[in-house]
Symmetry: C2
Subunit: 252 residues, 2 copies
DNA sequence: AAATTGATGATTTTATACAATGGAAAGAAT
DNA sequence: ATTCTTTCCATTGTATAAAATCATCAATTT
C-alpha cells in the first residue's frame, strides 16, 4: 500500500467554481476574505494581483474583481494604479463601527425578537453552548462565526435585509479587532458569554425592552474595552471634536 | 461664419480618464450611476456590458468593474452569468432605506451640528435657497444634489466617515423614489423646503435637540408620504410581521 | 549639496481573444 | 397537443497580451 497523503484545506486552498461559487472571482473573494479575517493578511499588507492569481491558479481579472468586492466590504483599500492594501482601522474608525452597530442592532432586535420560535431558541441555545466552549478554549477561529450566528438568528425576523447585511458586514470587520480584545482579557470573554446567555433568557421571557438594553450594553462593553486597549497601546490622546464618547445611550 | 454646433453633456457623454477619474472604470461607473439616478436606466432594466462598452468607447473589462462598483452601492444587482439589472425596490425595501436613515442621521446631526461655522451656515443658506428655487420650478435634476449637500454639510463634523458615506449612498438610492413623491405632491415639496429652513434656523440658534427632532420628522414625513403613494399604486396589503410602522420614534 | 529631469522596471489597467453559461428555439418522444 | 431533450446563440466570465501608470534610481543641472 502506498502511503496515504493527507491534504489539509488550509495547506492547499482549492479556489474555484463549484457548488459554493458560480464564478472564480467569488471563490477568490471568499478565500481572500477568510485570510483577512483570520489575520493571515495583516492590516496595511499589500496584496498583489499577480501573486494571488498565480497561487489560486487563475488569471488576474477575477482577482481584480474579487479585490473590488472586498473593497466594498471595507476590508481593503484599492489605490488606483497602486494596488490593494488590507485596511488598518484607527481606534476612531473601530469605534465608529461599534457606534454603527449600536445604532442599527437595537432596531433589528426589537423588530425581530418577538417573532422568534422555539426552533430558533433551540438553535440559539446550541450556538451559545458552542460559543461558550470556543471562548473557554480560546478557539479564536470560530468566535466570529458563532457570534455572528447568534446575532443574526435573533435578527432574522426584522424584515430589514439591507440593515441585516450591513450589520453582518460590520460584525466581520469588527472581528479582526474584537479578537485582540477577547484574546487579551479573560474577564471580557466570560462577560460576553454571560451577556449572550442573559439576552437569550430575556428573549425567551418576552422581556424585549430589557433584552435590547442589554444588547446595547453588551456591544458597548466591547467597544469601551477595545478602545481602551487600543489607546493603551497607541498612547495617543483623543482630541477629535466628536471623539471620546459613544452615542448618547439612555442607560436607565 | 459656419454655424456653431452646441455639444451638450448629456447628448454626447465623454466617458474617460482625466482630472476627474483615474481609471476608465471609475468614469464608466460615474456615468452609469448618473443614468440610474436620473431615471434614464429604469428599475429592472437590463444593462449589457457589450452595449455600454461600445457606447463609451472602451473594452468590457472596465465596464464589468464599474457594474461591480455600482452593485456595492445598491443600484444594481449582478446575477452571475446573466448580467446586471437596475435595482427595483419594493415599498418595503424603500421603507427600510428610510428606517436606516432615521437610525443614522440623528446620530450624525447631534455629533456635528454644534460644530458648524458661520461659513457653513452661509453655504447652507445658499444651498437652501437653490433648493427652494429648484422645488418651485420642479427642477428634478438638481433636487438630490442640493438635498444631499444640505444634509452632508450639516453632518460634516460628525467624525464618522463610514456612517456619512453610508448615508450619502442611502440618499442617492432614495432619490429615485423621492422624486416620484415630490413630483406628485405639491404640499410635500413645500413642506420639505420649510423643514430644511427650520432645521437650519434651529442649528443657528444652538437648539440641537429640537433640530434633531425635526430632522427625524422631516425624514419620516417623506417616508410616510412615499409609502402611502407606493401602496396606493400597488394596492397590496402589508402583511409582513415587521411592516406597517417605522421605528419607534419618541416624538415628544 | 540640493533640486530637477529622465530612464527603468514592477505592477496595474485595459484590449482582445477564447471559454463557459443559460435561455430560447427547434426537434424528438409520448 | 404536450412534454422532454438537444442544439444553438447571445452574453458573460476568464485568459493572454499590450498599454498605462507610478515609484525608484541614476544622471544632470543649479
Amino acid at each position: 500500500m502506498p502511503p496515504i497523503i493527507s491534504i489539509h484545506k488550509r495547506d492547499m486552498p482549492v479556489v474555484g467554481k463549484g457548488l459554493k461559487h458560480k464564478t472564480m472571482s467569488e471563490a477568490a473573494a471568499a478565500e481572500i476574505r477568510e485570510r483577512i479575517l483570520d489575520g493571515t493578511y495583516s492590516p496595511e499588507m499589500h496584496l498583489r494581483q499577480d501573486v494571488l492569481a498565480a497561487e489560486f491558479g487563475m488569471s488576474r481579472i477575477p482577482i481584480r474583481e474579487a479585490l473590488l468586492s472586498l473593497e466594498s466590504e471595507g476590508l481593503l483599500n484599492i489605490l488606483p494604479h497602486r494596488g490593494a492594501v488590507v485596511v488598518k482601522l484607527s481606534a476612531e474608525e473601530i469605534e465608529e463601527l461599534f457606534n454603527m452597530r449600536l445604532l442599527l442592532e437595537p432596531f433589528l432586535f426589537l423588530r425581530s425578537a418577538p417573532h422568534l420560535t422555539s426552533s430558533d431558541f433551540s438553535r440559539l441555545t446550541k450556538t451559545l453552548s458552542e460559543y461558550s466552549a470556543a471562548i473557554r478554549e480560546v478557539n479564536v477561529n470560530t468566535w466570529n462565526d458563532l457570534n455572528t450566528e447568534f446575532h443574526m438568528t435573533i435578527y432574522k425576523y426584522a424584515c430589514s435585509p439591507r440593515i441585516i447585511s450591513t450589520v453582518r458586514n460590520l460584525l466581520a470587520e469588527c472581528d479582526r479587532h474584537t479578537r485582540i480584545q477577547l484574546t487579551s482579557i479573560t474577564a471580557d470573554r466570560k462577560r460576553a458569554v454571560r451577556e449572550h446567555r442573559k439576552i437569550l433568557k430575556l428573549c425567551k421571557q418576552g422581556r424585549y425592552e430589557e433584552g435590547v438594553q442589554l444588547m446595547k450594553e453588551h456591544i458597548d462593553h466591547i467597544r469601551v474595552a477595545l478602545i481602551d486597549l487600543l489607546h493603551v497601546r497607541q498612547e495617543v490622546p483623543d482630541a477629535s471634536p466628536g471623539g471620546g464618547s459613544a452615542i448618547e445611550l439612555p442607560i436607565d
